[in-house]
Subunit: 316 residues, 2 copies
């Protein structure tokens, strides 16, 4: 069974022709023309679909459907995209329009949910029933798999774990509320700490690394220096790990999932991050004498979006 | 079908003979002899079971099983109670021992989960698939119902929503961690605010009410004065409502349940609490333009524990 998976992001649209064992036979990528609006992006998606089918030397008739991971909320009640902040989309009939133009069944879910589905089928949470993927990037996303299926919630609007309140009355979040987990556990949050280090001139090594250009500052550079023992960066890293772990412990205390998978850019910090988070979470869960979720790193990397999206066509 | 439901609390043991439509035919109550240990409490539970069956003029042969709501964690992997802090129990084989002595099948779940099951079957969350009961008492408990069944979690140790982190690095909780929701949303938290009001002499009305005795101070008295417009009590109430609502919004953002039910002593504040919480939660959920969980008051009151416990015998 062949499906097309599309990973629709604020920067790029990635599409792949995927077999039902999760193998990507062909892949194409195209910049997301946000400023040109919905019709332009719809056209590009159709071009990508046709492109990957052609690249792999198949025909549309051999492909079952199209699944899309969207950077927002798919409203399953009216089959429209409710919101995609990055794309300036609100109440957009993407699926109906795409189906009309391609004559193929189309499905969409939040991108983090789709990546969680991919990890649960072929990646870090394979052979589990219930898992949560947390994506640590510009924001904090989350996808929850229950009994092998995406948990879309009772109102069909999905979950937004990054917006659990972690610090009541805390920092203002991009969503307009205060104290969201995302404001403390995203790459953006770590970079904010790095900026503070530079402003206060607390790390010569970090100054050298960015060479006077604040735009050279990345979350990875702070983590790299923390790993090397730079005092200010290590302090920032520990603070970051605490906040990330407190949110993970909240999820464990509230739901007791089987496994938690860390994905997104920050997860590339690998074992240095993972061991610190495991240690901290153990201190923060309600009862660490009883078994609780194991925490692991995502395995599928950037392909999780395409693979997971393609799986949306298999679920019915 | 008849079952016995037992609500095992730190102060009292309540037992009832319950029909499968949730009617309590007979009810008995007995103080919990915590200091006399497990064997004494086990004996009292057996006496209560026999008592309620006798009171309703039935025989043991006509009763299917015994369900127990426990103030702690039932470990379903080894069929033992993992923890009951209030009873000083740790790794206790309650079910095996009770079954041995009564020759009836016995089941146990956390008391908040059991109350949630009762509300889902016969109370405020009737006709929903997924609901969360939040019990606002000395602590904050929570029970989650998914697809009509208690969500016991992947590790069979249940959920402890009151210990989600709400204020990172916040107040010390009774569990030993910091910043748990319970430390801000329990009756204890509201009473702590009341003590502060008395210490700072901010409310003549509250002083008058407690008549110089700090032990007369209850959460209800603060809420009553807030309702009457007492400035300091209203401020404390609003602060309490914010923290309660922030945790509810976290559950909604992370999980999108169908309905949230407020129970426990604080919920007796009724519509004054409910309308304030609904208003605040609306401000705090990620996307209040899309549908989200409705919030209601529990309906079954103190009987929820007995009724829900009896339902444990029906689930298999």
């Amino acid at each position: 069974m062949l499906n097309v998976g599309i990973d629709l992001g604020g920067t790029n649209i990635k599409a792949g022709l995927v077999t039902d064992d999760g193998t990507i036979l062909a892949k194409r990528i195209f910049p997301t023309r946000v400023s040109e609006g919905f019709e332009a992006i719809l056209g590009d998606m159709i071009m990508l679909v046709n492109g990957v089918i052609h690249d792999a030397r198949y025909t549309k008739q051999q492909v079952v459907g199209i699944g899309i991971g969207i950077p927002g909320i798919q409203n399953h009640r009216n089959n429209r995209i409710a919101f995609c902040n990055n794309l300036n989309w609100c109440d957009v009939p993407l699926l109906d329009r795409l189906q009309e133009r391609t004559s193929m069944p189309c499905f969409a879910e939040n991108d983090a949910a789709v990546a969680a589905l991919a990890e649960a089928n072929f990646g870090a949470s394979r052979n589990t029933h219930d898992s949560i993927l947390i994506t640590l990037g510009t924001g904090v996303g989350g996808g929850m798999i229950m009994d092998g299926r995406i948990h879309t919630g009772s109102h069909g609007v999905g979950v937004e774990m990054g917006h659990m309140v972690l610090v009541a009355n805390g920092k203002k979040c991009t969503c307009g509320k205060r104290g969201c987990w995302e404001s403390y556990a995203s790459a953006t949050a770590l970079i904010r700490q790095g900026r503070m280090i530079l402003r206060k001139r607390q790390s010569a090594a970090l100054e050298k690394l960015v060479q006077g250009k604040i735009e050279n500052l990345t979350a990875q550079s702070i983590i790299d220096l923390a790993k090397k023992g730079d005092e200010a960066c290590l302090k920032a890293f520990k603070r970051y790990v605490y906040h990330l772990s407190a949110g993970i412990a909240s999820l464990i205390n509230a739901f007791d999932p089987e496994r938690i998978v860390l994905g997104g850019g920050i997860s590339h910090a690998g074992d240095f991050l993972l061991s610190a988070v495991r240690e901290e979470v153990k201190q923060l869960v309600f009862c660490n004498e009883l078994p609780f979720a194991d925490i692991v790193l995502a395995k599928l990397g950037n392909d999780a979006g395409i693979i997971g999206a393609s799986l949306l066509c298999c679920r019915n």
